[in-house]
C-alpha cells in the first residue's frame, strides 16, 4: 500500500487526481478500523493531516466554514452557538480520544447511514465543499447522499469543508444507543426550526441505507407551527409529526435493533425534539419582543 503525504491542498488534490482510488485519511477513526479488520485494502492512503487549510474554521459570509479536518472536540468547544445540533451530535460521538481525532469531513466521506454528524447537517441544510484539480464546487448535504455509502463526491475530489448556515431557531439532536456512552446509533434524529424562512429541517440516522430527511414531516410542521407566537402545537400535531418522521424511515432489523423499534424510537425522539424546540423557540420570540 502506498502512503502519500501531501503538505498542501494543491498537492493533495494532485495526488487524488493521480490516484482516484486512494483513500484519504485524517483522524483515521473509520479508515484504520476498516484496515485493521481487513474490510478494505486500498492501493494508497492520502494523509491529509498536514494540510493547514483543512484544520481551520471561521465565518464565511453569513455561514460558518468548518474545515473537513476539524475534530469533533473543536466543534463541541467552539461551535455550540453557531451549530447547536452538530455540537450536540459531536458530543455523542464515541469517546474523548475518538472525538479528538474524528472529523465531520471524515464522517461525510464514509457516508455511513449511522454517521453521527449527518442528521444535523441535513436538518440545518448545510453544504459540502468539494475540491479537485478541476476546481471547487458546493453541494447541499441534502443532495450529497445518493445510496448506501455512495455520495455526490467524484473519485478525484476531496471534501474540503462544510458550510453551516447561521441558526435562526432551535436545533436538536438525539441518538439511541443501548448504553449510555460510546455507541453507534441504533437510530438518531435531528430537528432544526428556521424562524427566518419559516422552514423545518429534519435528519434521520440509521434509519435507511443513507441518512434521510422526513420531508412530509417538515412540510406538515412548517404549516402547523405558530411561527409568530411559538404556541405549543396540539397533542395531535405533535403525534402526527412523530408519525410522519417514523414513516420516512426505511429501517432494517439488524444486530443493533429491530426496524419496528427504530420507527418507534424515531417517533418518540421527534415528539420530544419538537417540544424542546417549541420551548426554546418561545424563549427566542420573547427575547426578540
Amino acid at each position: 500500500m502506498e502512503f502519500l503525504s501531501p503538505s498542501t491542498l494543491e498537492e493533495a488534490l494532485e495526488a487524488k487526481s493521480a490516484h482516484p482510488d486512494a483513500v484519504p485519511i485524517m483522524g483515521g477513526t473509520d479508515v484504520m478500523v476498516e484496515l485493521n479488520f481487513d474490510k478494505r485494502r486500498p492501493p494508497a492512503l492520502i494523509d491529509l493531516a498536514r494540510i493547514p487549510e483543512l484544520a481551520e474554521y471561521g465565518p464565511d459570509g453569513d455561514r460558518t466554514r468548518l474545515g473537513a479536518g476539524v475534530p469533533y472536540t473543536t466543534v463541541i468547544e467552539h461551535l455550540s452557538g453557531r451549530a447547536p445540533a452538530l455540537a450536540k451530535a459531536s458530543r455523542s460521538v464515541a469517546s474523548p480520544q475518538i472525538r479528538n481525532r474524528g472529523t465531520v469531513g471524515g464522517n461525510l466521506a464514509g457516508a455511513s447511514p449511522a454517521g453521527d454528524a449527518h442528521p444535523s447537517l441535513l436538518a440545518t441544510d448545510a453544504t459540502v465543499e468539494l475540491a479537485s484539480v478541476r476546481g471547487r464546487r458546493r453541494v447541499p448535504v441534502r443532495e450529497f447522499f445518493l445510496s448506501l455509502r455512495k455520495t455526490a463526491r467524484s473519485d478525484d475530489e476531496l471534501i474540503t469543508a462544510v458550510l453551516l448556515p447561521e441558526p435562526s431557531g432551535p436545533q436538536q439532536f438525539a441518538k439511541i444507543g443501548t448504553r449510555n456512552a460510546m455507541v453507534i446509533a441504533v437510530t438518531s434524529f435531528a430537528l432544526a426550526l428556521d424562524g427566518e424562512r419559516r422552514a423545518v429541517g429534519t435528519g434521520l440516522g440509521s434509519a435507511g441505507p443513507t441518512p434521510l430527511r422526513a420531508e412530509a414531516a417538515e412540510e406538515f410542521l412548517a404549516q402547523e407551527f405558530d411561527w409568530e407566537g411559538g404556541r405549543s402545537p396540539s397533542e395531535a400535531t405533535v403525534r402526527r409529526f412523530g408519525e410522519l418522521v417514523a414513516a420516512a424511515a426505511r429501517p432494517i432489523d439488524d444486530q443493533r435493533g429491530s426496524a419496528e423499534y427504530r420507527r418507534h424510537a424515531l417517533a418518540v425522539m421527534a415528539r420530544r425534539a419538537l417540544s424542546w424546540s417549541v420551548t426554546d423557540y418561545r424563549k427566542g420570540v420573547t427575547r426578540c419582543a
Binding site: 479488520f37 450536540k88 438525539a174 460510546m182 429491530s258
Partner: protein
C-alpha cells in the same frame, strides 16, 4: 530496612503489608502506566507469525483441503492441517472431543481448519487466502431445546466419530442430563406420570403458583487482551510455551499428548494475562503454536484479533429455562420445578460441570420441601460455551430470583420479606441434601441491603438536567420525559472451588534465606495471575506467616506443581492455602534449626514460637534470635530453608444421576444486591443509579482488591442485565466486535455502596470465602427486577433489550 533497627519492644508488631492490609499490587504501576508486558507484547528476533484458517460454516463436511498454493507464498514456512498433528488429534477439558485442527467435519463457525507460520502476519493472511477447503455445507443444529428433548434431532457428534473410542458419545446431543428430586418428588422420581401427579397435588395445595420461561443470552467474557502466546522450540526436542492462560498444568496436560511429547518436554510459563473470566480455561492457540514451532524450528507467535477472539474462546452458556414455584399464603415455599437447558455448542468444554452447578444450585438458597429440577447441557452447532464467572449459577439465579419477585408480587409481599421468609442459613441443606456447614447470614444480609441509604431522587440532584445522569446519557434522548425509577433486589448462592469429586489441589514452593543481611522469602507457584490480585495476596500471606517484609513472587510456570485453575473464585483459598501451608513447613524447619543450635529454651513448645519482624520470637521469652543470625547469608554458605507443599480442600462427591443428591460443593458464597434504576419507559433505555451490595467474604484478605472484585463482578452482571449478548442466528455470530457487543462504560456504571461481612468459614484458610463470582450472580436479577418495577413488563430475557421495555416482540 526497619528490621535491623527494631528494638525488642516492637517485636510484637505484626509484619507490614500482611493479611488484611491493602498493599499495592506489584504489577499495578506497570499496568496503569502502560508498561506491563502482556502476552501479545512478546517478541523474538527470528520469530514467525502464526495464523489460523477458520471455518466459515457452522456445520459442514470437509471434502478436501489443498495447501499447495499457500506453501508457495514467499515467506511462508509451514502450513499444517490435522494430518500434521503427530499425537492425539483431539483435546478437551473434560471430554477429549475437540480436534486440534478439523478432520472430516466442522461443527461451528470459526473452528480451526489449518494453521500457517510466516515471516509477517500479512504474509500469513495471504497464504490463508490460498488454502482451498472443499466444504459440503450441512444444516446447523442450532436449537438447544430441540437438541435436548427431540429424539429425532440429528446428532452434532455421531457415535463412533472418534474411531479409537467407539464408545464415544452414547448420549447423543445430551452432554449431561442431571435431575434433582427432593420431598414428594423423590418417591415419584423417573416416572413421568407419577411426577406430574405429585405436581398436580402440590399445585392444588398451594395458595399461589407462578410459572414462567426465562432466557439468558450468551455472554462474552470480554477480556481486553486477546488470545496470544509464543512457542519456542527447545534443544532437547521439547518446546517452551509462553502464554496467557488460567491454568498452566491443564494446558500442559492437553498440549503434550497432541504433540506426541512427554509432559516434561512441554514447559509453560505464564505470560502477561489481560483478563480471563473463564475464557482462558480452554486451549486456543497453544497447540497450534507448538506444532508450528516444532515444525519450523523457530519461535512462533500468535495474537488473535478482536473478531477472531470472539470465535477463539468459549462463552457463557445461553440458557432456556422453565420454572414454577408454589407457596402458601404466608409466603412459605411449598414446591419448585425447573427445566434448565444450557447450550454447550459444538464441543464439550466445561459443559458437564456447568450442568452440575446449574442443577444443584437451581432453586437458590431457599428452603423448599419439594423440588424437581431437570438440567441439560447439549451439543449444538453454535459457538462452544464453557467457563465464565458464575459458571451455571448465573443462569439459574436469574430465573429463580425472577420467580421470587413474581411470587412476592402475587402474594402482595415485599420481595425482601418473601426472601427472608424462605431464607437458608447455616445448617440448612440445599436441594442436593448437602448441609451448609459454614455461616450463611442470609437474613442479616438481606436486612442490611434493604436498609442501605437510598440514592437521592432525581429532583434532589445538584443538576437534574445533566445528561450524564439520565438514561441515554449524552446522546440526549430525554430531559426527564418518560423517566421512571425502579428498585429491585437479587441474591445468589455460588459454589466456590471445584465441585463433584474434583481434587483441585494447589502447590506452593516457599524459600526463606538471608541476602545482604536481610531475610527474603521467595514464593513460587504455577497459579495464574489474571488481574484478580493473587500475586499481592501470596506476598501478604508469606509476610504474615514468616514475619518477613521482603517477599519476591517468582514467575508462574510448570517448574513447580499444579496450582489448579484461576477460576471458581478458588485461588485465595487454594493457592493461598498452599502458600500458607508451605510457609508453616518453612517455619517449623526454622524452629527445628534454632532448637538444634540451642537457641530455644527446652521448655518452650513450638506453639509459643513465631517469626516476626525478621526474628524468631517467643511469646513468653521475647526475641530469641534474628533470622539473619540464625540462617546466615545464603551467598556465603548460609542456610536456605525451602519447602514445597500441596494443599487440598476437603473431598466432595458426585451428584447421583437419578436424584441429584450428594455433598458436591466445597464452599458456598453469597452476595445480595439492591439496584436502583431510572428507565426511559418510552424508549426502553436504562440508567442504573445505584448498585449496592452486601457480601460475606469470611475474611477480607486485601480489602481494596476485594472491593475491586465486588465492583467488577457487579458490573459484569450489569452488562448481562442490560446489554451483553453474543447474538447467534443459525450458528453465526452477528456481533463479533466491541462495536456491537457492548460492555458497560463508566457512564453505565453507578456508584456502589458495598458492605463486607466477615463470618469466618471454619474449613478454609483464614476463614476466607472466594469472592469473585457471587456478585456476578446477584446484580443481574436485581437490575432486571428494578427495570420490571419501573415498567411493569415481565422481562424474561437477560439482557433486557429496549424492545422488551417498550413492548416490541423480537
Amino acid at each position: 530496612m526497619a528490621v535491623t533497627t527494631r528494638t525488642v519492644t516492637d517485636l510484637s508488631s505484626t509484619t507490614k503489608d500482611g493479611v488484611g492490609a491493602s498493599p499495592r499490587r506489584p504489577d499495578g504501576t506497570l499496568k496503569v502506566t502502560g508498561e506491563f508486558a502482556y502476552s501479545s507484547d512478546m517478541w523474538m528476533e527470528d520469530m514467525l507469525w502464526g495464523a489460523t484458517l477458520r471455518s466459515p460454516h457452522p456445520h459442514a463436511r470437509i471434502l478436501g483441503v489443498d495447501v499447495t498454493e499457500a506453501l508457495k507464498v514467499p515467506g511462508v514456512s509451514a502450513v499444517l492441517t490435522h494430518e500434521d498433528v503427530p499425537g492425539d488429534k483431539r483435546y478437551g477439558l473434560e471430554h477429549q472431543d475437540q480436534p486440534v485442527l478439523a478432520i472430516d467435519k466442522v461443527r461451528y463457525k470459526g473452528e480451526a481448519v489449518a494453521v500457517v507460520a510466516a515471516d509477517h502476519p500479512e504474509t500469513a493472511r495471504r497464504a490463508m487466502e490460498r488454502i482451498r477447503v472443499d466444504y459440503e455445507v450441512l444444516e446447523p443444529i442450532s436449537d438447544s431445546r430441540r437438541a435436548a428433548l427431540d429424539p429425532d434431532c440429528p446428532l452434532v457428534h455421531e457415535p463412533g466419530t472418534i474411531p479409537e473410542h467407539p464408545e464415544y458419545n452414547q448420549r447423543g446431543n445430551r452432554l449431561r442430563y442431571q435431575p434433582v428430586r427432593t420431598g414428594a418428588f423423590t418417591e415419584a422420581a423417573g416416572a413421568a406420570g407419577r411426577e406430574s401427579g405429585v405436581l398436580e397435588r402440590l399445585r392444588a395445595e398451594a395458595d399461589a403458583v407462578v410459572s414462567s420461561e426465562y432466557e439468558v443470552g450468551m455472554q462474552d467474557q470480554a477480556f481486553l487482551g486477546p488470545e496470544s502466546g509464543m512457542a519456542v522450540p527447545a534443544e532437547d526436542g521439547g518446546v517452551d510455551l509462553y502464554v496467557a492462560t488460567q491454568w498452566l498444568h491443564v494446558d500442559q496436560r492437553q498440549i503434550a499428548p497432541a504433540l506426541g511429547l512427554p509432559q516434561d518436554k512441554v514447559r509453560l510459563t505464564l505470560a502477561g494475562v489481560g483478563g480471563a473470566f473463564g475464557a482462558r480455561e480452554d486451549l486456543s492457540m497453544q497447540i497450534h503454536a507448538c506444532l508450528l514451532a516444532m515444525r519450523t524450528g523457530k519461535p512462533v507467535k500468535f495474537v488473535y484479533n478482536r473478531e477472531e477472539s470472539f470465535y477463539g474462546h468459549v462463552h457463557r452458556h445461553p440458557a432456556k429455562m422453565r420454572y414454577e414455584h408454589g407457596a402458601r399464603a404466608d409466603g412459605t415455599l411449598l414446591y419448585a420445578t425447573a427445566e434448565i437447558i444450557v447450550d454447550g455448542g459444538a464441543y464439550a468444554s466445561a459443559t458437564p460441570a456447568v450442568v452440575g452447578v446449574a442443577s444443584s444450585l437451581g432453586i437458590g438458597p431457599y428452603e423448599v420441601p419439594n423440588v424437581l429440577v431437570d438440567a441439560y447441557g447439549v451439543y449444538t452447532n453454535n459457538p462452544p460455551c464453557g467457563a465464565m464467572r458464575g459458571f451455571g449459577a448465573v443462569q439459574a439465579c436469574f430465573a429463580y430470583e425472577s420467580q421470587m419477585d413474581r411470587l412476592a408480587e402475587e402474594l402482595g409481599m415485599h420481595p425482601v420479606e418473601l426472601r427472608i421468609k424462605n431464607a437458608m442459613s447455616q445448617g440448612s441443606r440445599i436441594i442436593t441434601g448437602q448441609e451448609i456447614d459454614m455461616p450463611l447470614p442470609m437474613v442479616e444480609m438481606l436486612e442490611r441491603c434493604r436498609d442501605l441509604p437510598m440514592p437521592p431522587e432525581r429532583g434532589a440532584l445538584a443538576d437534574p438536567s445533566d445528561l450524564r445522569t439520565l438514561p441515554g446519557g449524552v446522546a440526549g434522548t430525554t430531559r426527564g420525559e418518560g423517566v421512571v425509577r425502579g428498585v429491585g433486589y437479587g441474591l445468589g448462592l455460588k459454589n466456590l472451588c471445584f465441585s463433584e469429586g474434583f481434587d483441585d489441589y494447589s502447590t506452593a514452593r516457599v524459600r526463606l534465606e538471608v541476602v545482604g543481611g536481610e531475610p527474603v522469602v521467595l514464593v513460587h507457584t504455577a497459579a495464574a495471575e489474571v488481574g484478580q490480585g493473587l500475586v499481592t495476596v501470596k506476598g501478604q500471606i508469606a509476610r504474615t506467616e514468616l514475619g518477613v517484609e521482603k517477599v519476591v513472587i517468582a514467575p508462574s510456570d510448570t517448574q513447580v506443581g499444579s496450582a489448579g485453575s484461576s477460576s471458581a473464585s478458588r485461588q485465595s483459598y487454594m493457592t493461598g492455602g498452599a502458600v500458607r501451608t508451605a510457609c508453616a513447613s518453612v517455619r517449623a524447619e526454622v524452629f527445628a534449626l534454632a532448637r538444634e543450635r540451642g537457641l530455644v529454651p527446652e521448655d518452650l513448645p513450638d506453639t509459643d514460637l513465631s517469626l516476626s519482624g525478621g526474628k524468631l520470637v517467643s511469646a513468653t521469652a521475647g526475641a530469641l534470635v534474628s533470622l539473619a543470625d540464625l540462617l546466615g547469608d545464603s551467598t556465603q554458605g548460609g542456610t536456605v530453608v525451602e519447602q514445597t507443599r500441596e494443599y487440598h480442600h476437603r473431598p466432595t462427591e458426585m451428584l447421583d444421576p437419578e436424584l441429584g443428591q450428594g455433598a458436591s460443593h466445597t464452599q458456598f458464597g453469597m452476595c445480595v444486591h439492591r439496584a436502583v434504576v431510572d428507565v426511559d419507559v418510552d424508549l426502553g433505555l436504562v440508567k442504573v443509579v445505584a448498585l449496592d451490595a452486601v457480601q460475606d467474604v469470611g475474611k477480607a484478605m486485601h480489602p481494596q482488591q476485594l472491593l475491586g472484585q465486588i465492583q467488577g463482578g457487579s458490573t459484569q452482571g450489569l452488562g448481562l442485565a442490560l446489554m451483553e449478548e453474543v447474538q447467534v442466528t443459525d450458528g453465526q455470530i452477528r456481533n463479533p466486535s466491541f462495536t456491537d457487543y457492548l460492555i458497560p462504560t463508566i457512564l453505565d456504571t453507578p456508584p456502589m455502596r458495598i458492605e463486607v461481612l466477615e463470618h469466618p468459614d471454619p474449613h478454609s484458610p483464614y476463614g476466607l470465602r472466594g469472592a469473585g463470582e457471587p456478585p456476578t450472580l446477584s446484580s443481574t436479577p436485581a437490575i432486571v427486577a428494578a427495570v420490571r418495577a419501573a415498567t411493569g413488563r415481565p422481562l424474561t430475557h437477560a439482557p433486557v433489550r429496549p424492545e422488551d421495555i417498550v413492548g416490541i416482540e423480537l
